[in-house]
């Protein structure tokens, strides 16, 4: 198959899968088989695309012209490839996990769940491969709408309220800020294509560009830059696989990825260097990191703690980009992958604990490590990776972030990263400690979670380890990003 065909296939698979899943709603067995097969097929497709992209090729494909001069078209560049690879790699695990989870917790509307899950992945892939802002925006909205039913899945008043906040924030930011920003760009630059070095250079004066920068930074609400992070904790009402999808596989990653993409391919690093606004954006990212971490400290609910940790970890990516040094941009790109692997492991573990022991609070986890050894081992790996200890994925990305900061003598950045690392440690270590070294409370007679769940979370924990050893591929991709190599 030629590369464009593969690209088309990668885009088509999730949606076709969703359709089939919806049609097979009556036969759960077939449906679940499909739920596993489709992600593997996608993974295979993406893997096939990898070598070409590493070789510097940029397969692209234009579906149709929506409006004069505005096309719905896709093209693979290194950053997008990286994101797509992460999503494709984690989807099978997530599917495996969610099958187990839904069955174990006897959830209703499983068909709707799996179908929407697949569509969300499709949206994520669309975001990853988008060749211009219009396509990106469309895929971004597909992702938003497709995840709504997942968040609202439980359909009780609490879930509905959470889902309302989720949809409200994401839609109002995207319609209210992102769309005008895009139209403004279109009016100013006359094009919406992503181009190395950006398209905005020399179109507007720095003041307006600053405003535009903030329109994008907050318009892409999925990046959860404070204070527009409310939707993320609100979405915690969703079933755990969804949280995993939101935090690791698709949603927030799509957010920071889009942001990176805009910074690199619409503004261009060189332009950002000249913008006074860049410093402000950097400051916001830093603040977001620190504040979110401190909030996370005070959360007793495990999933909420993880959620706030996500908020802070996301801002690492933005921070890395806004250091505006090649190495830290590398770090930012790598951190998308690193955080994805680590965080999905943590959520899988949290879900496993809920499924097996029906525990949701950190304070209940005393000694649970001996009842659920596999789960907690994975959890510990994930947590340590979040903190950034070698030899784990988190270490890799933080290393590059710091390297970039050092290189460009950006001491503020170094300070922020150090402090937040301490904070990460402060809110993760107690959990690990409790799990292994505190005495178990008397009346807990549960065992390990269902096998499909355990398998999934071990797989992702393994990925967290592997990423640190076999980092060539992601590194190469990251280096291929314009401004990503010194």
């Amino acid at each position: 198959m030629s590369q464009p065909d593969l690209l088309a296939l990668a885009l088509l698979l999730p949606f076709a899968g969703a359709l089939l899943i919806a049609l097979l709603g009556r036969q759960p067995r077939l449906r679940d088989a499909l739920v596993l097969i489709v992600p593997l097929a996608l993974l295979a497709t993406v893997v096939q695309l990898l070598p070409a992209v590493l070789g510097g090729a940029q397969p692209s494909l234009t579906l149709l012209q929506v409006m004069p001069g505005l096309t719905l078209s896709f093209s693979i560049e290194p950053l997008g490839m990286l994101f797509a690879a992460v999503a494709a790699l984690l989807w099978p695990a997530a599917s495996l996990y969610s099958i187990g989870y839904l069955k174990a917790n006897r959830e209703k509307h499983q068909t709707r769940f799996h179908a929407c899950f697949a569509i969300s992945i499709g949206g994520a892939v669309g975001v990853a491969f988008a060749a211009n802002l219009l396509t990106l925006f469309i895929s971004y909205e597909v992702l938003t709408l497709a995840t709504y039913p997942l968040v609202a899945h439980k359909a009780d008043t609490k879930a509905l309220r959470g889902a309302r906040i989720y949809l409200g924030v994401l839609l109002s930011t995207s319609i209210g800020l992102l769309l005008p920003a895009i139209l403004w760009t279109w009016a100013a630059a006359g094009t919406l294509d992503f181009r190395p070095g950006g398209i905005l250079a020399g179109t507007l004066d720095n003041g307006l560009l600053g405003i535009l920068l903030f329109l994008y930074a907050y318009g892409i609400g999925k990046a959860a830059l404070m204070p527009l992070h409310r939707w993320l904790p609100a979405a915690m009402v969703a079933p755990t696989p969804v949280s995993a999808l939101l935090h690791a596989v698709a949603v927030v990653k799509a957010g920071v990825f889009s942001l990176l993409k805009v910074l690199v391919y619409v503004f261009g690093i060189d332009l950002l260097r000249e913008l006074p606004a860049s410093t402000w954006l950097f400051a916001l990212a830093a603040a977001s990191i620190l504040i979110a971490s401190t909030i996370a400290l005070r959360q007793d609910n495990l999933k909420r703690r993880l959620a706030y940790s996500t908020v802070s970890q996301l801002s690492y990516v933005l921070l890395g980009a806004m250091i505006l040094a090649p190495l830290s941009l590398l770090g930012a790109a790598l951190h998308i992958a690193a955080h994805a692997f680590g965080k999905i492991t943590l959520f899988f573990a949290a879900g496993a604990i809920y499924t097996a022991a029906h525990k949701t609070e950190v304070s209940q986890l005393g000694g649970i490590g001996y009842r659920m050894p596999w789960t907690m081992t994975a959890f510990s790996i994930g947590a340590l990776s979040m903190i950034g200890l070698p030899p784990l994925a988190g270490f890799l990305s933080k290393w590059y972030l710091l390297g970039g900061a050092w290189q460009s003598e950006h001491y503020a950045a170094m300070l922020v990263i150090t402090i937040s690392t301490l904070l990460n440690a402060a809110y993760f270590v107690p959990i690990i400690h409790a799990a292994w070294f505190k005495p178990a409370d008397a009346h807990s007679d549960h065992g390990e979670a269902p096998p499909s769940i355990v398998a999934a979370l071990l797989f992702t924990a393994l990925l967290t380890l592997l990423l640190c050893f076999s980092y060539e591929i992601p590194l190469q991709l990251a280096q291929a990003i314009p401004g990503g190599s010194p």
Partner: protein
């Protein structure tokens, strides 16, 4: 003259004569068949006209009675009229294809023949307004369609349909009379009723108070007809209590044609220089449109009856069209026309979907519809599609409208206007999402579980319209292309 030269008159006369034919035969099944065939015929004719325009035939004049204008009355086909005509006749076909089951359920048997006849009259009247190149003739057709629609609205089952119809009758007649006065003023000063002829003669007279007053009266009259805020009070009840097919057809066509008439008079007859630069129509229109868009979207949120909710949203959406018109740049007017086209698709799909709900549940009150999404997945699927288009989600027709409107506003640098558009879209999200939550995320009341989908004869037209919302969100070559060509004609001067 060959058949292709006769298309303009056929597009009007076929439904116009089919209507008395229905009454003459007086059998309701035959009446439905005749109506459907007539609509299809008219649709074919208007499709032919559109094709001719696409191939660049240029404005076509059809002299009725072979009396050359301005002595006689002429039909005038250009890009704008061809596009709007297509909307009207297409909607007629869809609604009539849908009508039989729905009407059987909602209207007494002995009145069904009359309903089809009246529907045809509305259709013909609107088509006439769109095609005619004669100011007074437009008034006559306006009255045909209005009288017929009063009757249609009054056929709703709720007694409030009657009061709604009467209110509409008073408002509509006042509007028509205002237009009549305006035309009188124009005739007084020019001695002609032909639009093209007027357009030639008016610039010389643009400083006379008579012409200015004429302009004012025509504008107000049309504003009454198109339910422009704050003259919209008649519309919500009318659309709420009319039979479903009637609501669908009127919502999709009537106000659109009124907007067309506004565009026609403002840009073709009076011309941009007079209406905007000299009379500053935009100063009046823009604020009103903005308020309408915000206020009525807000009001829509608090409605319990979904038909009424959509009715209020319709008034708000008309606000968008007027906004584009009031921006009065080629881009703005393009946005207005594109939205005119797209909104017909949205509201058509939405009202037809509600008609199917009415057919099954017997009510469109939101309290009755919990869990309806599981019971009528296809119907509500179509509703959702229409709703997303109404919000302006990408890949739907609504997105295209918003795109052009916002870019027109950006081109003017009117940030407050963009804010208005954004806020109202979010309000649309809210009132559509109320339905989504009720339909899918609240359990069905006990005893009503299990599938209870509407019959195919209702679903098929609904879904074709819903899919049209998708199609014109992806391939805009027809809607946008025609709109841009039409704008070229409008700013070029005479129709």
């Amino acid at each position: 003259m060959t058949l292709s030269d006769q298309l303009p008159i056929l597009a009007v006369v076929v439904p116009l004569l089919a209507s008395p034919l229905c009454v003459l035969i007086g059998n309701r099944h035959a009446a439905w068949l005749i109506a459907l065939l007539a609509a299809v015929g008219a649709f074919a004719a208007s499709a032919g006209l559109l094709l001719a325009q696409l191939q660049g035939a240029g404005p076509v004049s059809y002299a009725l009675g072979d009396w050359a204008p301005p002595i006689g009355i002429e039909f005038r086909v250009d890009h704008l009229s061809a596009l709007v005509l297509l909307i009207v006749s297409a909607m007629a076909v869809w609604v009539l294809a849908y009508a039989r089951r729905s009407v059987e359920a909602e209207v007494a048997q002995d009145k069904q023949t009359g309903l089809y006849a009246a529907l045809l009259l509305v259709h013909a009247g609107l088509a006439g307004i769109v095609l005619t190149g004669d100011a007074f003739n437009a008034f006559v057709f306006l009255e045909i369609s209005s009288l017929a629609s009063y009757a249609l609205i009054s056929m709703g089952r709720d007694r409030r349909a009657l009061t709604a119809a009467f209110q509409y009758l008073v408002m509509g007649t006042l509007g028509a009379t205002f237009i009549l006065i305006g035309i009188g003023f124009l005739y007084m000063m020019t001695g002609t009723l032909n639009m093209a002829d007027l357009a030639e003669r008016l610039p010389a007279l643009s400083d006379t108070r008579t012409i200015q007053a004429g302009f004012a009266f025509i504008s107000v009259g049309i504003a009454l007809k198109l339910a422009m805020f704050p003259l919209h009070l008649w519309l919500p009840n009318a659309y709420t209590y009319a039979p479903s097919v009637v609501s669908a057809f009127l919502a999709a066509t009537a106000t659109k044609v009124a907007v067309y008439l506004m565009l026609r008079f403002v840009f073709s007859v009076f011309g941009h220089d007079f209406a905007i630069a000299h009379m500053h129509l935009d100063y009046l229109l823009l604020p009103l449109a903005a308020i309408a868009v915000l206020l009525l979207s807000l009001v829509a949120i608090f409605q319990y009856d979904l038909k009424r909710m959509l009715a209020y949203s319709s008034v708000a959406q008309v606000g968008y069209m007027l906004m584009g018109l009031a921006i009065a740049t080629p881009l703005g007017v393009t946005a207005s026309i594109v939205h005119l086209f797209n909104h017909a698709l949205m509201k058509g799909a939405l009202f037809l979907a509600l008609g199917a709900v009415m057919w099954r549940v017997g009510s469109t009150h939101i309290g009755q519809l919990s869990g309806i999404g599981q019971r009528m997945p296809w119907t509500m699927g179509a509703f959702l599609l229409g709703g997303l288009s109404l919000i302006g989600v990408p890949l739907t027709a609504g997105f295209i409208s918003k795109w052009y409107l916002v870019s027109a506003a950006i081109a003017q640098g009117w940030w407050w206007l963009i804010l208005v558009i954004v806020i109202s879209s979010l309000l649309a999200v809210i009132y559509i999402w109320r339905v989504v939550e009720t339909a899918w995320f609240t359990p069905s009341p006990n005893g009503t579980a299990g599938r209870a989908e509407a019959p195919l004869s209702l679903l098929l037209p609904t879904w074709t319209l819903a899919l049209a919302n998708l199609y014109f969100g992806i391939d805009t070559s027809l809607s946008v292309g025609m709109a841009e060509a039409a704008v070229g004609g409008l700013f070029g001067g005479a129709p």
